[in-house]
Amino acid sequence: MHILIVDDDPLAAELSAAILQAAGHRTLVAEQALDALEQLEANPDLDLVVSDMHMPLMNGLELFLEVRAHDYPCRFILLTGDAPGDLQARQPRIDGCLLKDHSLEDSLPRLVADFAPKAGPKVASGGQPA
C-alpha cells in the first residue's frame, strides 16, 4: 500500500513510517493537515492516511472531514494518545482509531493488513493511557 503519515512530531512520523515500511508498505510524510491535503492532491495513488489527532491548526478529525469532503478515495486511521474509543465513537466513519503508544508496532500493521477490499471500522484494544 501507499500510505500518507501525518504527524507534527517528525520523530513520531518516522516511527510510524518505519513500522509500516517493515510491513512492506510505501510511505510519505506530511507535517500537518494542510500539507497532507496537498500531498493527497499530488499523489492520487495514496491508499491510506494515518494521521495524528492533535496537531496545530487542524486536528486529525478535522482533516478526516476535509479528506472526505474532497472525496479522496483513501482509508483513514487516526492515532491518539488518549482514549481512541471515545474518538471512534465521536466519528464512526473513521476506519480505525489506535492508541499512540509502543503497541502501535503490532496494532498498526495488523489493522492495515485488514484493509483488504472489505473490512469495516476497527477499534484497537489499546488500554487507557497510564
Binding site: 520523530l11 516511527l15 482514549a83 509502543h102 493511557p129
Partner: protein
C-alpha cells in the same frame, strides 16, 4: 517485524533536548514577566511538553512519558489561565523539566528504555495536584478518570488551535496592566505563521564522523598547502639563474605561480572556515544542562540558587563543546558546593537567602570569554593558607609572605581541595587541577580566578572558538625553529641592550609600569647552550623579546628572529612524547619541516625555577655574611614587579612580604610590623600615595622608611610622594638595584 528502536532513541534524545531548551527559556520568560508572554508562546510550551510525551510513549519510555504527562497537565492549566504562575509553581515546573532532562541524558548515555529509573512519583503527583488545583473537579455522577480524560483532550485541542489572547482578568498583576498599556498591536489570529515553523527541506542530518573526516582532510590540505607556498620563491630563484633567453618567460611563470598560490590560499581558508562552521554548536548545548545540574545539586544541598545565563547563542567547535563540559560542570558544582552559603548563613551575612550563579559568554574575535561567577562566600584565604602549609605545599614563612592572588592560585594545585570533608559532589574524581590542565592543554585556553572574600568568586575562561586552526608565532632561537601559541604571546618588542636592567643576577625589562624578567630562550631550553660568538651580546646592540603571558605572570624571552605569524593546523603531541611538558604540539611549516610549539606555562615554571635557584643562592650567601634580616613589605599590583623586587631584596638577605594593592598592603602592615615598605603608585583600590599617607598616620609606621618605586617621572609626582611622607622616590626607568639597595641600607641604618 521489530523495527530498530535504538535509532529512534538517539533521535528522541536530540529532539527532546530542543524541546526542553525551549521549555526552559519559556519558563524563564514566564517567571520574569508573566504579563509579556503571549498566548502563542504558552501554546508552544504546552505543545513541546505534549510532543515529548507523545514520542516517549511511542518509544515506551514510560518514566519520561509519565513526567511529561503530568507536566503537560500543569502547563495546560496555565495556558487556560485557570492558574497563575507563582514562584512555587515555577519551581515545580522547573523540577519537572529537570527530571525529564536527566532521564533524557541518562538515555543518551545508555540507550536502553528499561534502564531508565522509574519516574519520581512524588513529583508527578505534585504536578498533577497543582494542575487539578485549577480544575473545576469532575462533575457529579461521572467517573473522575473519564472526565479528566475529556478535560485533557479538550485542553489539548484548545492548545492545538490558535486562540486570541484572553483579555487580562480582574486579577491582572501590575506588570500585566502595564503591559497592556504599552500599545503592542495584537496580530489578528488569521495571520499567524502556519505550521510548527520547522520545515525539513532546508536542513540535512550529517553523521559527525563524516564531518570529522572532512575536517581532518581540510587540515591535511592546509598543511600541504604550506609547502606549496614555498614554490613561488623557488621559481623566482630559478628564474634568476635561467639563461637570458628564457628569463622573461621564467619570471612570468613565477609571477603567475605566486598569484595562483595566493588565490588558492584565500579559497582554502574560506573553505576551511565554512567546513568548520558546519561543526559549530551553540554554547546553550552546554549551559542549559549545566544550569539544570546546578539547580538539582543546590536542591540536594538544601540551598536555593538562581542561575542566569547570557551569551549562550555563541557557537563553538563541537570538539571544544565536548571537552568543555567536564571542567564547566566542575566549576559550577564548586560554586554551589563551596561558594554558596546555606540560606541561614546568607541571611546572617545580610545577603538574600537565594544565591545566584551567573554563567556568561562573550565573543571576542576568534575567542570566547566564559565567566562563572557566584555571590557566595568567596575563597577563604586563611583556610587555603593553613591547608597549603599542612599539605607541605608552602613553608609557614612562604605562606605568610605570599600575596592573596598567589594563595588563591593554590586551589589549582593537584590534590588541593578546600572542603574539610571530601563531599560526594565536588570532591569526586576531578579536581581544580584537572580543570586547569584541561583548559590549558586540551582547550588551549586560559583560566583565571577573581576572589572577593565574603562576596563571591569568579572564574574566567578564555577559549579559542575552534581547535582546528590556531594562531601560531614562529620564531628562531639557538639555531632552531620554534613556535608559540599566539594566545600566550602578549607582545613582541625590540629593545636596545643597554635598556635591560640587571636585577638580582638576572636581566629584566620595564614594560610600562612593571618589571619583566628576561631570559634567553636557547639558554632556558638548554642550560648548557653557549651563545655562538657571532650572536654574542656585544654583536647585536638590540635584543628581540617575545613577551609571554600566562595569567598575571609575564616572561620576556630573547629570540634570534621572528619568522611568521599565521593560522596553522596544530598536531597534538603523540602519546609517546607526552612526557615532554615543554611541547604543546607541532605544526608543519613548509617542506616537510615540523616545528615544535612550546608550552608557555611550562616555560614560565622552568624560568621561575631557574630564577629561584639563583635567588636562593644569593640569599644564602647574604645570610652567611651575617646580615640582619630586615622585614620588608613590597606593594605593587604587577605580579612580575613584585617577584623581581622580591628577588633583588632576598638576594640581599632581606625577608620580603608581598601585597597586591594599597588596601592589601595596609592590612598586612597593620598585622605585622615591617622595617621598611616599598610601594608602587598606580594600583587598584588604593594608590601608593594614599597608602603612604595612611601608614604615616599609624603610630607603628611614623618613622618606618617608605620608598616609592614607580614609573611616574614627573617632578610634581615626586614632590607629592615626598609630601605624603615617603622617604625616597625611585623611578623604575632609572631603576638600578644597587641604587635601591643603597637607599634601603641608608634608610634602615
Amino acid at each position: 517485524m521489530a523495527i530498530d528502536r535504538s535509532k529512534f532513541i538517539g533521535r528522541f534524545v536530540e529532539e527532546a533536548r530542543e524541546h526542553l531548551a525551549r521549555l526552559d527559556r519559556g519558563l524563564a520568560d514566564l517567571t520574569q514577566n508573566p504579563g509579556r508572554v503571549s498566548q502563542t508562546e504558552i501554546d508552544a510550551l504546552f505543545r513541546s511538553a505534549h510532543t515529548i510525551k507523545g514520542s516517549a510513549r511511542m518509544l515506551r519510555l514510560t518514566p519520561i512519558c509519565d513526567t511529561a504527562h503530568a507536566l503537560e497537565d500543569l502547563l495546560g492549566a496555565l495556558r487556560g489561565r485557570q492558574l497563575q504562575l507563582d514562584e512555587h509553581l515555577g519551581a515545580l515546573v522547573q523540577q519537572g523539566l529537570d527530571a525529564i532532562a536527566n532521564a533524557v541524558e541518562q538515555l543518551d548515555r545508555q540507550p536502553d528504555p528499561d534502564a531508565l529509573p522509574p519516574p519520581d512519583g512524588e513529583l508527578c503527583a505534585a504536578l498533577s495536584a497543582a494542575a487539578k488545583g485549577a480544575d473545576p473537579g469532575p462533575p457529579a455522577g461521572q467517573p473522575g478518570s473519564q472526565s479528566s480524560e475529556q478535560a485533557r483532550e479538550r485542553a489539548t485541542e484548545q492548545a492545538m488551535t490558535p486562540q486570541p489572547d484572553p483579555a487580562p482578568t480582574a486579577t491582572a498583576t501590575a506588570t500585566q496592566a502595564a503591559a497592556t498599556t504599552t500599545t503592542e498591536p495584537s496580530r489578528p489570529t488569521g495571520t499567524e505563521p502556519s505550521a510548527s515553523g520547522l520545515s525539513g527541506s532546508d536542513s540535512l542530518r550529517v553523521r559527525i564522523d563524516q564531518l570529522d573526516g572532512l575536517l581532518r582532510l581540510m587540515g591535511e590540505i592546509i598543511a600541504h598547502h604550506e609547502r606549496l607556498r614555498q614554490h613561488p620563491d623557488e621559481a623566482r630563484r630559478l628564474a634568476r639563474l635561467a639563461e637570458p633567453g628564457i628569463t622573461p618567460a621564467c619570471e612570468a611563470f613565477a609571477r603567475q605561480l605566486r598569484d595562483d598560490v595566493q588565490t588558492q590560499d584565500g579559497l582554502i581558508r574560506e573553505l576551511h572556515d565554512r567546513a568548520l562552521a558546519l561543526r559549530m554548536l551553540p554554547l546553550s548545548m552546554l549551559f542549559e544542562p549545566a544550569a539544570r545540574n546546578l539547580r538539582e545539586l543546590a536542591r540536594s544541598l538544601g540551598k536555593t540558587v538562581r542561575c542566569t545565563i547570557k551569551g549562550d547563542s555563541i557557537a563553538l567547535d563541537r570538539q571544544l563543546i565536548d571537552q568543555l563540559a567536564e571542567p564547566l560542570l566542575h566549576l559550577l558544582r564548586n560554586a554551589v558546593d563551596h561558594g554558596l552559603e546555606p540560606p541561614d548563613e546568607r541571611l546572617a551575612a545580610g545577603k538574600p537567602a537565594n544565591g545566584w550563579v551567573r554563567l556568561e559568554a562573550r565573543r571576542d574575535g576568534r575567542w570566547v570569554d566564559i565567566t562563572i561567577s557566584d555571590d557566595g562566600r568567596g575563597i577563604d584565604l586563611a583556610r587555603v593558607r593553613d591547608k597549603a602549609i599542612r599539605k607541605g605545599l608552602l613553608s609557614a614563612e612562604q605562606a605568610a609572605t605570599a600575596s592573596d592572588s598567589e594563595i588563591v592560585d593554590l586551589i589549582f594545585t593537584p590534590g588541593f581541595s578546600t572542603t574539610a570533608l571530601i563531599t560526594d559532589i565536588s570532591g569526586r574524581g576531578v579536581g581544580m587541577d584537572v580543570v586547569k590542565s584541561s583548559v590549558l592543554d586540551r582547550l588551549r585556553g586560559s583560566i583565571q580566578v577573581d576572589n572577593r572574600p565574603g562576596q563571591g568568586t569568579r572564574f574566567r575562561l578564555r577559549l579559542p572558538l575552534s581547535l582546528a586552526m590556531t594562531r601560531v608565532l614562529l620564531i628562531e632561537a639557538g639555531g632552531e625553529r620554534l613556535g608559540f601559541l599566539a594566545q600566550h604571546v602578549a607582545e613582541i618588542l625590540r629593545v636596545s641592550r643597554e635598556n635591560l636592567l640587571e636585577v638580582a643576577e638576572r636581566r629584566a625589562v620595564i614594560l610600562r609600569n612593571e618589571f619583566v624578567p628576561v631570559m634567553s630562550l636557547a639558554e632556558l631550553l638548554d642550560p648548557g647552550f653557549a651563545t655562538t660568538p657571532a650572536a654574542a651580546p656585544a654583536a647585536t646592540p638590540e635584543v628581540l623579546l617575545v613577551i609571554l603571558r600566562v595569567g598575571q605572570e609575564k616572561l620576556a624571552l630573547e629570540v634570534d628572529a621572528l619568522q611568521d605569524e599565521r593560522d596553522l593546523v596544530v598536531k597534538p603531541v603523540p602519546e609517546h612524547l607526552r612526557h615532554l611538558h615543554l611541547i604543546s604540539g607541532f605544526v608543519s611549516s613548509g617542506a616537510l619541516a615540523v616545528v615544535s610549539l612550546l608550552q608557555a606555562p611550562a616555560l614560565l615554571d622552568l624560568a621561575a625555577r631557574a630564577r629561584g635557584q639563583s635567588v636562593r643562592a644569593g640569599a644564602k650567601a647574604a645570610a652567611e655574611a651575617g646580615e640582619r634580616a630586615s622585614r620588608l613589605l613590597v606593594v605593587d599590583d604587577s605580579l612580575n614587579t613584585r617577584e623581581i623586587e622580591k628577588d633583588v631584596l632576598e638576594a640581599q638577605g632581606y625577608r620580603v612580604t608581598l601585597a597586591e594593592d594599597g588596601i592589601d598592603g595596609l592590612h598586612k602592615a597593620m598585622r605585622d610590623p615591617f622595617d621598611a615598605v616599598l610601594t608602587d603608585v598606580e594600583m587598584p583600590r588604593m594608590d601608593g600615595f594614599t597608602l603612604t599617607e595612611r601608614l604615616r598616620a599609624l603610630d607603628a609606621y611614623q618613622a618606618t622608611p617608605i620608598i616609592i618605586v614607580t614609573s611616574r617621572e614627573k617632578e610634581e609626582d615626586r614632590q607629592r610622594g615626598l609630601r605624603v611622607g615617603a622617604d625616597a622616590y625611585i623611578v623604575k626607568g632609572d631603576f638600578d638595584q644597587s641604587n635601591l639597595i643603597a637607599t634601603l641600607r641608608a634608610l634602615l641604618g
